[in-house]
Symmetry: C2
Subunit: 271 residues, 2 copies
C-alpha cells in the first residue's frame, strides 16, 4: 500500500512564472491529507486528477496568505459538488475568521457539508489526530507568526515498520525539530533562501537549503525534499547542490512530482 | 495605440483541467483594467507577463467566488511588492466585507497602498469612471445576485472613432442589454451552456451560446467573444458553431488569447 507525497507547488510568498504556492498531498494507504492550501491549490489538484472528495483533513502550517488563501475556492467547489462528508481543517487560531468570512460570503446559502476548525496550539510535540492509517503530531516551528510542523506516522502494519513523513514550513532552524522528527523517512523542509542570503533567511525567519539539510542530517531522515523557494532565484538547481553537500539524498519538491516511501519489512530489515 | 482584451481564463464556477476562472485584462492605450478576479488570476497574470503594477482599476461583475476569490492573493502580492499607488475596486456592495477580512487577516501589518471600494449599484446604464483613455459605464445584468456588465468607451482620439468593449458575465438574456451596448466593437459575453441545456441556463440565470450570439446581433456588435463555459462540456468547439450560426464573427475567449480592436479612422470610414 502506497505512502506518497505529491507536490502541488514550490513557490513562496510571491508566485513565480509557472510555479504555484507551496502545498502537498500526502497519501497514506489511500487516505489523503492536504498540507497547506494556497491560492490555486484546487486548480492544481484538478490538473493532477486528485479529487477533493478524497480529502477529509487539511493541515495548515500557518496563517500567511500563500498557505491558506486557496481554502475559500476549495470550500466553494466542495459545496458546488454537493460534498456531504465533513471537512476537518487543522490550523492555528485565527482560521475561524476565514471560515466565518466564507459563511458570511455565502449569505443565505448553506454549505452542503460541515467544516470543523481544529485549533492547533502547542509549545511542544503534541498528538493532534488519530486515523485508521496514521497518527498525526504537531510541533512549533520558528516563524514570524505561530507556525506548526506536522509529523505523520503510519499506523503499524503487520510485519513492517511504520513509515513517517514530516512537513516543516515556514521556519528558521529550531534546535528541537530534529529530535521531534527523529528517524523520519521523508522530510519536506522549506528552503526559501540559499546560503548566500543567510542574513535574509534569519531576518524573515526562513531557512537556507544548507540549514534544511542540516536539520535532515540531525534528524537522521531518510530523504529530504526542498521547496518554498524565493522568487528572487531564477534557477533551483543551486538549492539541490547546496543541500546535497550536507545531506546527499535530497530532491526538489517541484510541481507535480510524487515521492514514495517504500514499505520496509521487518524480516528484510533484520537481515 | 492598442485596444486589446486578453483572456486569463474561461471556466465557470467549477474549474476544469487546465482552465482558470473567467477573468480578462483590458488594455486601452496602455491603461490596464482587470475584469473580474477569480482564484488564480495573479498566477495567470504572472504567466502572461502582465504586471499587477500596471493595474489601477479592477471591475468585479458580481460576488460569486469564481469572480472574486483571487483578490486576496493579488492584494497580498501587491503589498509584498511594495505597491504605492492606490487600487480602485469597482464592485457591487458586499465587497467591503472581503476587504475588511483582508485587513483583519493582515493584523498589525498595514498594506503598502490604499484600497478603495467603489460600490456599483444601478438599475440602468450609468457612468462609473472617467480616465484619460476611457469612460466606463455599468449596467445591470440578469443573475441570481446583483451583477453588472461594464462598457468601456475609448476617449476620442483625433481623426478616429472611439472604440468600445463590453463585458457581460454572469447573466441570462436581458432585453435592455443590446441597446445599452449598441454598436460595441468587442463584446465578451458569457456562454455557460449550450442550447441543448436552455432549461438549465434559465434555471441558473446564465446564457447559452445561441443567446449570447443573439445579444451580439441585436447590439450590432463588431465581434463576439464567448467564455465562462460550464465544466459539464468536455469540448468547446460546439459553443463556437452554435454562436456562429447566428453571429458569424464569434471567437472563444480561451486562456491566454488576446483580441484586438483596430483603430478606425474617420477618413477611412467615410470612404
Amino acid at each position: 500500500m502506497p505512502l506518497t507525497l505529491t507536490s502541488l507547488g514550490c513557490a513562496s510568498a510571491l508566485p513565480a512564472r509557472d510555479t504555484y504556492f507551496t502545498a502537498h498531498v500526502l497519501n497514506i494507504r489511500g487516505r489523503l491529507f492536504l498540507l497547506d492550501c494556497g491560492e490555486g491549490t484546487q486548480l492544481r489538484l484538478r490538473q493532477l486528477g486528485i479529487s477533493t472528495g478524497s480529502i477529509d483533513h487539511v493541515f495548515i502550517t500557518h496563517l500567511h496568505g500563500d498557505h491558506v488563501f486557496g481554502l475559500l475556492g476549495m470550500l466553494s467547489t466542495m459545496h458546488l459538488l454537493n460534498r456531504k462528508q465533513p471537512l476537518y481543517i487543522h490550523a492555528p487560531g485565527g482560521l475561524e475568521k476565514m471560515i466565518a468570512f466564507y459563511f458570511d460570503f455565502l449569505g443565505e446559502r448553506k454549505p452542503s457539508f460541515d467544516i470543523f476548525h481544529e485549533t492547533v496550539q502547542t509549545d511542544e510535540f503534541l498528538p493532534v489526530l488519530e486515523t485508521d492509517t496514521a497518527d498525526v503530531y504537531a510541533f512549533p516551528l520558528n516563524h514570524s507568526i505561530p507556525a506548526y510542523g506536522y509529523l505523520f506516522r503510519e499506523r503499524p502494519v503487520r510485519k513492517s515498520y511504520p513509515r513517517s513523513v514530516a512537513y516543516c514550513t515556514d521556519t528558521a532552524p529550531r534546535p528541537e525539530i530534529p529530535s521531534w522528527i527523529k528517524g523520519v523517512d521523508l522530510l519536506f523542509h522549506e528552503a526559501t533562501f540559499l546560503e548566500q542570503d543567510t542574513v535574509a533567511a534569519a531576518k524573515y525567519l526562513h531557512s537556507t537549503a544548507r540549514q534544511a539539510a542540516q536539520t535532515a542530517l540531525d534528524a537522521g531522515a531518510g530523504q529530504l525534499l526542498l521547496g518554498h523557494f524565493s522568487s528572487r532565484y531564477k534557477e533551483t538547481p543551486a538549492f539541490l547542490a547546496e543541500a546535497r553537500d550536507i545531506f546527499p539524498n535530497t530532491e526538489l519538491s517541484t510541481e507535480g512530482r510524487t515521492f514514495s516511501v517504500p514499505r520496509r519489512f521487518i524480516q528484510a530489515a533484520a537481515e
